[in-house]
């Protein structure tokens, strides 16, 4: 797509957009062309040979003709699941928004949930200022540039000052076809002292004959005292390629927590940058991945402590079976003057087969002296003493292994207050363990 895409495709992608957005796309396209494809020679892409794994040149932009085809039944089912538990929902098929629902009550309180494209056209407050500027601008790299130039649609969610949404908002994405790419964005703005949880589900059928790319840029702003939770659930079918650039900006006294779950797809690469911009800001960053067969998951995280007296705590845990590969690369950066920083980073891996590989690269960069930081990484195998203990109570070996893996990954879920998500993910892990 990208190599044979031209300035024409950028113009096409921007048809109907306001001038500022068209200009932003053109500029991003120039950046895209000027930026080389990441290679394994760069530290950040060492273990994910994206040029080889992602046949960008062969992918065409996905397109879903909603008026002719309606909403795919699988997506309908996904949106139906636990429906009452959500304050709002968006359905996204092959890069196009096909459904937006928002509780009357939330709408009455000024919550905006709509197609991001529509929001740009409607001139919604914050869109022009915040879209691909402060959070995931084109200048961030090859894929952020690709996204800023070619994004087809996405979600805009704005929660006004002081508004508390008790129930989460959910985005369900569906990629329907192999050989196609979707390029989408999420822009979430939680104004002062508001509260919101956002669940971002990526789904697709099993795609045997090739790759379906779901590339997404996620921009999240928590204004002073806001509380935001963002959960990405990557449960694509085989052949799925998930490529996410996420950045969270947490202002003074805000809480901006994230959870990245990777269970599906062939390849998942997530770049997450958490920026702590105001004193008292807090980010809990959770991750959970469970790979089998030839699945490849790569997480590249950074915790940027720009302001003093902020707190961040990262815990990523993964289990790897079959030929799966897990990569975690994380860095805590304490900027100059960020005194009183509290920053933690832990990555733990459980390797379940001889052929599975886990790579863990934690890192620290400290530019202030009064800080509390720690990082730790482990790659371990199932403990024979634990398995014996369980088997000595009558559990078969597979049952014992399942229980240990669930317990290991469950530590991440136990920190998440979203019961519906916890159940959904637990079920998905259990299903995967049974299949193993």
């Amino acid at each position: 797509m990208a190599s044979n895409a031209s300035a024409d495709s950028v113009r096409e992608a921007g048809v109907g957009d306001p001038g500022w957005l068209q200009a932003r796309r053109e500029e991003a396209w120039e950046t895209y062309n000027a930026t080389p494809m990441p290679s394994t020679r760069s530290e950040e892409w060492r273990y994910t040979d994206v040029a080889r794994m992602l046949p960008l040149g062969e992918l065409t932009p996905a397109f879903w003709d909603c008026s002719a085809n309606g909403t795919p039944s699988e997506l309908q089912e996904a949106m139906e699941r636990g429906r009452a538990g959500f304050a709002g929902q968006v359905g996204l098929v092959d890069g196009s928004v096909v459904a937006v629902e928002l509780d009357d009550e939330a709408a009455d309180r000024g919550v905006v949930l709509k197609s991001l494209r529509q929001a740009a056209r409607d001139g919604d407050e914050g869109v022009e200022a915040l879209l691909a500027t402060e959070a995931v601008p084109a200048s961030d790299g090859k894929f952020p540039a690709l996204n800023a130039a070619l994004w087809s649609d996405g979600v805009f969610l704005r929660v006004p000052r002081g508004v508390v949404l008790e129930r989460p908002v959910r985005l369900s994405r569906w990629n329907s076809q192999a050989g196609t790419a979707t390029v989408t964005r999420v822009l979430l703005v939680a104004e002062e002292a508001s509260r919101v949880s956002f669940v971002d589900e990526a789904l697709s059928p099993d795609l045997e004959e090739g790759t379906a790319l779901a590339a997404t840029a996620v921009e999240i702003f928590a204004r002073q005292g806001a509380q935001v939770q963002y959960v990405s659930l990557q449960q694509m079918g085989r052949g799925g390629f998930y490529l996410a650039n996420q950045r969270t900006l947490a202002e003074r006294d805000s809480t901006l927590d994230t959870l990245n779950v990777a269970l599906g797809g062939a390849v998942g690469r997530v770049d997450l940058n958490a920026r702590l911009l105001g004193p008292g800001a807090n980010s809990d960053m959770l991750g959970l991945y469970f790979g089998d067969d030839d699945q490849h998951f790569d997480f590249n995280t950074s915790q940027d402590h720009v302001a003093p007296n902020a707190h961040s705590d990262l815990l990523y845990k993964g289990a790897l079976d079959g030929n799966a590969r897990g990569v975690f690369r994380g860095i805590i950066r304490v900027h100059k003057g960020a005194q009183g920083t509290d920053a933690y980073q832990t990555n733990r891996n459980l390797v379940l087969s001889d052929r599975a590989v886990a790579t863990s690269l934690p890192n620290l960069e400290i530019g202030a002296d009064d800080v509390r930081c720690s990082h730790g990484a482990t790659v371990g195998q199932l403990d024979g003493e634990v398995l014996f203990y369980l088997m000595s109570r009558g559990l078969r070996r597979e049952q014992a292994e399942r229980l240990v893996v669930l317990g290991f990954l469950g530590e991440v879920l136990s920190r998440l207050p979203l019961g519906d998500v916890v159940q959904n993910v637990t079920r998905a892990i259990e299903a995967k363990l049974r299949h193993a």
Binding site: F388, L390, M391, R393, G394, R397, V404, G407, G410
Partner: protein, 257 residues
């Protein structure tokens, strides 16, 4: 089946699986239905090795003799098969299983005992578990804690007894379950064993201990002394009393000679 002892070790020899380290050098021990046998012996004499051999720990390998449970060759069975047949070992050093609650673990263990397709009744299970916990003076919240994770020494031992009380074995091997318990906890554990015994008089117990005091609460039918991988003496409760008073000097002297 009734004609067979619950546990019969005959000339049992065992070594560490990957090493040329021989620990059991010919153990003879027979436990009949409903009997309680105590095994005492100095540190390193092979008591835990015997217990682990009964439970099927893969780190040990039998090199001679036989080991049977109700007439069946235990050495041919996997640890889970032994458990399902009615063998239970309370570990001397229980392991921690982060993220797995006691309730979930025990539910899975009971579910594993059912025929394929049969589902454990969760309500019955919960009731059973709560009743067992009450018997052992445990708070209901204990069941939600991850198995042994961050438990005190005494809590770990109580947890072993809780599992035993829920799983109701035919043969309970208790490896120093009384070590590290305060007086009250010791009485609770003894009450647990005695209650189980009252519920099922056929249950046999192999009780490994260093201390005579538990035998005041759980009365043994026989007391054995293990020394350097063998049972060197068998008698009644008086053997334990003598050991308490005199220690293992006599055995050491005999062994050296």
């Amino acid at each position: 089946m009734d004609d067979f002892p619950i546990l019969a070790a005959t000339g049992l020899k065992a070594k560490v699986a990957d090493e040329d380290l021989h620990i059991l050098k010919g153990v003879d021990l027979t436990i009949g239905p409903g009997e309680i046998h105590a095994v005492m012996g100095p540190n390193g004499s092979g008591k835990s090795t015997l217990a682990k051999l009964v439970a099927g720990h893969p780190g040990y390998e039998a090199t001679g003799g036989s080991l049977a449970f109700q007439g069946e060759d235990l050495l041919e069975m996997e640890p889970d098969e032994r458990a399902q047949a009615g063998v239970f070992m309370a570990f001397q050093y229980p392991v921690e299983i982060p993220g797995v609650s006691i309730a979930n673990f025990l539910r899975t263990a009971l579910q594993a005992r059912l025929e394929n397709g049969e589902e454990l009744d969760l309500f019955d299970f919960q009731e059973h578990l709560m009743e067992r916990m009450e018997l052992l003076d445990m708070k209901p919240s204990f069941a939600e804690r991850p198995v042994n994770d961050g438990f005190s020494g005494g809590e770990k031992k109580r947890n072993e007894i809780l599992q035993m009380a829920v799983l109701k074995p035919t043969l309970a091997v208790m490896d120093e379950t009384d070590s590290g318990l305060d007086i009250d906890a010791l009485k609770v554990v003894a009450r647990g064993v005695n209650t189980l015994k009252a519920e099922n008089p056929e249950m046999s117990v192999l009780l490994i201990t260093h201390y005579q005091r538990i035998l005041d609460h759980v009365r043994p039918d026989a007391v054995h002394v293990m020394f350097d991988g063998r049972i060197v003496e068998t008698g009644g409760p008086e053997v334990a009393l003598a050991l308490e008073a005199e220690g293992y000097e006599e055995y050491r002297a005999a062994h050296a000679a």
